[in-house]
Symmetry: C2
Subunit: 251 residues, 2 copies
Amino acid sequence: MEGSPTRSLSPAWLSYYVAISQILGLTVITMAGVWMGQYRGGIAWTSSLQFNVHPLCMIIGMVFLQGDGKLGWRCFQAGSDQSPPCLPGLTPLLAWCVKWLIAVFEYHRKQGYPDMYSLHSWCGIAAFSLYFVQWLLGFCFFLFPGASFLLRSKYKPQHIFFGAFLLILSITTALLGIMELLLFSIKDKYSSFVPEGILANTLGLLLIAFGAVTGYILTRDEWRRPPLAEEMALSMDFKTLTEGESPSSSQ
Amino acid sequence: MEGSPTRSLSPAWLSYYVAISQILGLTVITMAGVWMGQYRGGIAWTSSLQFNVHPLCMIIGMVFLQGDGKLGWRCFQAGSDQSPPCLPGLTPLLAWCVKWLIAVFEYHRKQGYPDMYSLHSWCGIAAFSLYFVQWLLGFCFFLFPGASFLLRSKYKPQHIFFGAFLLILSITTALLGIMELLLFSIKDKYSSFVPEGILANTLGLLLIAFGAVTGYILTRDEWRRPPLAEEMALSMDFKTLTEGESPSSSQ
């Protein structure tokens, strides 16, 4: 994001924005639960209701927990430098567990449905694969003690960009899933503005709102974690090295 | 985006990334044209083919031109300060014209289909309404001579954030539209991996790739437009004013 010459929001506002994001996130989870419970017959680990675990768990894991993992950077910025990475480190693990707990592939097999043909499933598998790569690289660069400070500093902006990209891709995949489920289950009634369609459409808009508020918090300059003293020093050294042709070129 | 302590990409790389984004954007437009031409019977301003103008024009206007309008900020950063806003200023106008040229509502009326019931249409109308508001506010703050410099500086970060948000929302809406069209036109054959389904799914993934490359260019610190001297001076004055309780509090 472009830097702002003036800083109009005080750090105290962060709490309000985080509160709004949490209300939106919990509303979205509740609405997904109501949709599955009220209109799709509920959830179960066996029978045809096994499929209904998928939308609920994916919204909890890949949207709400992933978003909150990133917000952890802002909420815990007053703590030590070592504590925040644990949140994004743990969150994908949780989401990953949730992902494998749900049994959409098993449900497809039982019902004789083919796998992986729709745009929703292509986006979903791309999001999940890239998420796993991001988690693995994040673990290697930030938690593994062997990575040098310079290497971490070079990788950090990529990690942050792909973190934001994966949250957006996860929300997009969720929206595609809502659309797919609606057109498979209530295609003929959808255009009559039936309550299920309105509930699912509203759920989609609230998912976008959750993404927007989370993205707004993460991109505000005012709420950035201030760089550590050694990061600043290294940045200056690196700048000196790269702006000249070589350390001796300015002599 | 979080600031990077090291700057690993030289400004010269910007050209390569912009080239990749343009190749992706033009590929996406071509694929949308091929989809409509090869599998949906082509486009026309009358008859039932009128509907097919919608996907093609929306991808050109709301995705490609909108993305390129934002990239104009990076590509023309070497020029005068007044030239770049014309690009984002013109682009929504073009997209707006394209939007109203397409006749999806008229097509619905002719065919007797109801309007505005699906998640795709809800997201689309939200994106377009907010886009128009963004364009109007951008015009008032940046092109209208009455807005003060301080007011512009305060609004600028919001304009940039909502610009990025609207591009993402437009791409998401396009993906929902692809999903909806596929499930309305080839629902029974979709799971057999027919060429039309694969083409449309690939188009969806390339739309995401276009958004990712554009977003990457826009969020890299290295490629930001350097702030003007008066912006820097105002920023310092504003900081002095806001950090103390009042100008006299530090005395």
